[in-house]
Each structure stands twice: as structure tokens, then as C-alpha cells.
């Protein structure tokens, strides 16, 4: 099967001369239809920069992002707009990613801007309502403001917004990190369900190996802007090939060593 998303030798450097920071250094990954790829790394690993570039919110220093055989950065603004319908994003902070001044319905419908033939008026309302129900909220919620919702509910709204253009790729940048564990679990389940129903591919950026294990098919481990290890999630997590991956796994909190006295 041909890759939906192909990231080739992507680099992004900040600054000039000696003070240059390589946020991304020659990173290549690929993602097929219906696949959930987890990009895992600690702060400064470059995983968020990767997400922003894949979404076209930032320009790479070098390298290519190929989406459906089209290089994103070769596209004209008009074609980019068209292409954007195919990929959407869910952000980390459920409080910062929804405009507090807009009603939920308007927020969710915003990406329809990309599609001149998108339904208007009542049809649009129905479409948004249906989507809200899909993500576990009610159709009537579209007349409310974001501040009337909890963090988990907001993240559902964000997912609904990302889905309205029926994208083929969803990029989730630490989409569950700001949530309590119990809520996080629900959102992860939602993403899994969407994948199963619509065959959406997901690029899931996270620092949490537990989460990767939970939903990802494949995993890419990043450190200091470089790709350390990639492979099927099961394989990488159970038999890490690289020492960094092993360290990451060892540092993960566990429940099997309980209390310091028992540890000694």
C-alpha cells in the first residue's frame, strides 16, 4: 500500500552561525492509510516541530513532506488550501485551541472555509450536530461557548472540528497530555474508534510511552531532533534496539515495585 504521508529527510534549523539549533535533523517517516503512528520523545526532541511542519504551519530548512504524492511545499497557496482538507490537527491545550469568543458550532465549522461547496445554513447545522454526537456530545451543544465545557469535552470539540472536512490524516500533538488520566483514556478511545470507522491515519505526538502502547500501530522514537528508532509499536516497546529507547522505557513509572522498603 502506498504511503499517505511521506516525510523525507526533514530538517529544521533555528538561528544562524554558531548558535544554530537543529530542532529537526534529517528525519524521515511514512504513514499509510488507517495507521496510527506514535512519535515519542522528551522535551526538545523535535516532535512538535515535526507536527507543525507536517501541518504546513512552519517551513522546513530542508527535506520534503509528501502527502498523497504531492510535495506540500511545492503547492501553490490555492492548491495548499485544497490539500488542507485532507489533514487536520488536534492541539495539546484544550483551553487555548478553541476561540473563547466563538460558539462551538462556529468553531467546528471553521475548516469548512476550505470547501466552497460545503453545506450552509440548516444543512451545516445538522452536519455539525451529527459530528458532535459522533464525538460523544450532543447536537445542541453547538450553541454554547467553549468555557461551558470541561477539558475533556473541549478536546472532543477539537476532534470534531478536525473531522469536519473528512480528513485522511489527523495530527494529534500531545492531544491528551493536559487531561486527567481518566479523561485521557476516553479521548484515546475516541481516536481509536474514528480510525476504525473512517480509516483515518493518525500521527500521534506524545511524550508518554504508555499512550503509545495503548493506541499506536507503529512508533518513532525521537531524541534531540533525530529519529532514534522506528518500527511496529509492539516490537519497539518489547524489544527496544537502541539504548535511549531502553532508558525511556526503564524510566516509565511502574506499579510492580511498590513502596521504597519493598524496593530495597
Amino acid at each position: 500500500m502506498a504511503a499517505l504521508l511521506e516525510v523525507q529527510n526533514l530538517s529544521r534549523h533555528f538561528g544562524l552561525g554558531q548558535g544554530v539549533v537543529k530542532a529537526l535533523d534529517d528525519v524521515s517517516i511514512s504513514l499509510t492509510k488507517g495507521e496510527i503512528l506514535g512519535v515519542v520523545g522528551e522535551s526538545g526532541s523535535g516532535k512538535s516541530t515535526l507536527a507543525r511542519i507536517v501541518m504546513g504551519l512552519d517551513q522546513p530548512t530542508s527535506g520534503r513532506v509528501i502527502m498523497d504524492r504531492q510535495d506540500l511545499f511545492d503547492l501553490s497557496p490555492r492548491d495548499l488550501r485544497k490539500a488542507r482538507r485532507n489533514f487536520q490537527m488536534v492541539f495539546q491545550d484544550p483551553y487555548g485551541s478553541l476561540d473563547p469568543r466563538h460558539r462551538v458550532g462556529r468553531i467546528i465549522a471553521e475548516p469548512l472555509h476550505l470547501d466552497p461547496r460545503a453545506p450552509k445554513g440548516a444543512a451545516r447545522r445538522d452536519m455539525v450536530g451529527k459530528l458532535l454526537e459522533d464525538v460523544g456530545l450532543s447536537a445542541a451543544d453547538q450553541d454554547r461557548h467553549p468555557h461551558e465545557f470541561s477539558g475533556g469535552q473541549r478536546q472532543r470539540i477539537a476532534v470534531a472540528r478536525a473531522l469536519i472536512t473528512k480528513p485522511r490524516l489527523l495530527v494529534a500533538d500531545e492531544a491528551t497530555s493536559a487531561l486527567d488520566l481518566t479523561v485521557q483514556k476516553q479521548i484515546l478511545q475516541l481516536i481509536l474508534d474514528l480510525r476504525d470507522e473512517h480509516g483515518i491515519s493518525v500521527l500521534f505526538i506524545t511524550h508518554n510511552i504508555g499512550v503509545v502502547d495503548e493506541i499506536c500501530d507503529t512508533v518513532a522514537v525521537m531524541q534531540n531532533g533525530r529519529l532514534v528508532e522506528t518500527g511496529p509499536a509492539r516490537q519497539v516497546l518489547d524489544h527496544p534496539a537502541q539504548s535511549y529507547t531502553r532508558r525511556l522505557l526503564a524510566a516509565e513509572p511502574r506499579l510492580d515495585v511498590i513502596g521504597r522498603r519493598s524496593r530495597r
Binding site: 501541518m55 490537527m89 492541539f91 485551541s97 478553541l98 476561540d99 471553521e110 469548512l112 476550505l114
Partner: protein, 272 residues
């Protein structure tokens, strides 16, 4: 349910009274603000009007009321124009960044470096004293203030993820500014408008005091102060009345601004 901030209420009342007086003066004042009565000159407050009479026997209360129209009018127009241009520059700088932003900010720096009064006098010299000069001189100094405030606020908004979401939705800078940035910084803009109008009134008074304001007989609080200087000893009410009018109006606008800030402060009642 939620109570309004006290400063908002007091500020709104004072501002309403002053605006009311200014509007009222267009149709009615206790006496003709330009009608002199030389026999009844320099009368203290009391029988000859609530605030007494001035050096040519005009009713001070009436001049103060009519002066409110002048002061508020000039300050409001200057603030709206200066604030409009400044806001436009500020949000554009925030949206475009790069060279344009640097240009706007260095323009700001230049304007900031000059003492406003001096430049206003310079403008007065260039254009001749008058209402238009006052408006331009005061408005010019609103531009950098608003540009700075709105740029800072807009930059914060631009860092929000809902802006990224809007960009993901294919919206351009101008559209994002209109739909997301401006509505979300409108509270700060309104607060600044109130506060800057107050400063505008102070500036207008200063200009008039130096003889660079509106021409007589258009009443002006600053010119009243300037004219009453020589009567400081003989008729202190002539110094007190316009000064108090200025101070109370500015106080009202500042309180209004503070109250609006409290009202729109996200920290307020957010946990409820």
C-alpha cells in the same frame, strides 16, 4: 447575578454626568457661556451662578458645561482616530511580523522619544492653534500607544492554538485578524480607549493652557485655567472650577477603564 466592579459603576456615573453635561450644553446652559456682563465680573460662587462668574462676567458653570463638549469632543475624536490607526498598525505588525513589524515598532520608538507637548506645540506652530490641530497633535500620540498595546495583545492571541486551527482552516492573516484577533483583544482596546480619552483630555487642557488649543470664545478648560492665572489670588474659584472639571472627568474615564478591565479580567469569576 455577578456584581459589577465598583470602579465601573462610579466611573460610568461620572462619565455619564460629564457626557450628559456636554450634550446638554448644546441645547441649554444656565446662562449664555459667551454672554458677558462686565458689571458682574469675578463674582464668587453663590448668587451669581453656582460657580460664580469670570473676568468678563460670564457664568462659569455654563462655560464649564460648554467646555465639556470641547474637551470631550476633541479627546474622543483624537482617541478614536489615533486608536484606530494605532490598532490597525498594531494588529498588522502582529500578523505580518518581520520587516513590517520592525518598521512599525521603530516608528513607535521615534514617536515615543519625543515629549508629546513639545511636538504638539510644533504642530500648533505648523498648523496654527485650533480644534483640528489639537485633535491631530493628541491623536498622533495615541497611535504608538495603541500600536504597542494591540500588538502585544495580538501577539499573545497569535500564539494560541485556535489561530493555528484557523490557519489549518485555510484562513488568511487579515481574516484571522478580523475573526479571531480583534474580538479577543477588544476588551483591552476598549479599556485603552477609556484611559486614553482621559489622557487626551489632559493633553487638550495642556495645549489650551499654552495657548495652542481651540480659539475663543469656544470654551476650553485649559484656556480658562490659563486666563485665570492672574486671578489666582482675587478669584480662586476661576482656577478651581476648570481644574476640578478636568480632574473629575479624567478620573471618571480612568475608573471606567479600570472597571472594564476588572470586568473582562479572565481571572475574575473564572472558577465559578
Amino acid at each position: 447575578m455577578t456584581r459589577l466592579p465598583k470602579s465601573l459603576i462610579i466611573g460610568a456615573i461620572i462619565t455619564a454626568i460629564m457626557v450628559g453635561a456636554a450634550l446638554l450644553s448644546r441645547v441649554w446652559t444656565p446662562a449664555d457661556p459667551t454672554g458677558m456682563n462686565i458689571v458682574a465680573r469675578l463674582k464668587p460662587p453663590g448668587a451669581a451662578g453656582l460657580f460664580g462668574t469670570d473676568q468678563i462676567g460670564r457664568d462659569v458653570l455654563s462655560i464649564i458645561m460648554a467646555g465639556a463638549w470641547t474637551s470631550l469632543g476633541i479627546a474622543v475624536v483624537a482617541t478614536v482616530i489615533g486608536g484606530g490607526i494605532g490598532t490597525l498598525l498594531g494588529v498588522t505588525a502582529a500578523a505580518k511580523g518581520g520587516r513590517l513589524e520592525r518598521l512599525v515598532m521603530s516608528f513607535n520608538g521615534v514617536l515615543f522619544a519625543f515629549p508629546p507637548i513639545l511636538s504638539a506645540i510644533l504642530l500648533g506652530a505648523l498648523l496654527g492653534p485650533g480644534a483640528l490641530t489639537s485633535i491631530i497633535a493628541i491623536g498622533i500620540f495615541m497611535v504608538p500607544v495603541f500600536a504597542r498595546v494591540t500588538r502585544a495583545a495580538a501577539i499573545q492571541i497569535w500564539a494560541r492554538d485556535y489561530i493555528n486551527a484557523a490557519r489549518m482552516a485555510g484562513k488568511g492573516d487579515a481574516r484571522i485578524t478580523m475573526e479571531h484577533v480583534l474580538p479577543n483583544i477588544s476588551a483591552q482596546i476598549i479599556v485603552q480607549l477609556a484611559i486614553q480619552t482621559g489622557l487626551g483630555i489632559l493633553s487638550e487642557a495642556g495645549l489650551s493652557f499654552l495657548g495652542m488649543g481651540v480659539s475663543p470664545p469656544t470654551p476650553s478648560w485649559g484656556r480658562m485655567l490659563s486666563e485665570s492665572q492672574t486671578f489666582l489670588d482675587a478669584a480662586p474659584h476661576l482656577v478651581l472650577a476648570p481644574g476640578l472639571a478636568i480632574a473629575i472627568t479624567v478620573l471618571g474615564l480612568n475608573l471606567l477603564g479600570d472597571g472594564l478591565r476588572d470586568l473582562t479580567d479572565p481571572r475574575r469569576g473564572q472558577n465559578g
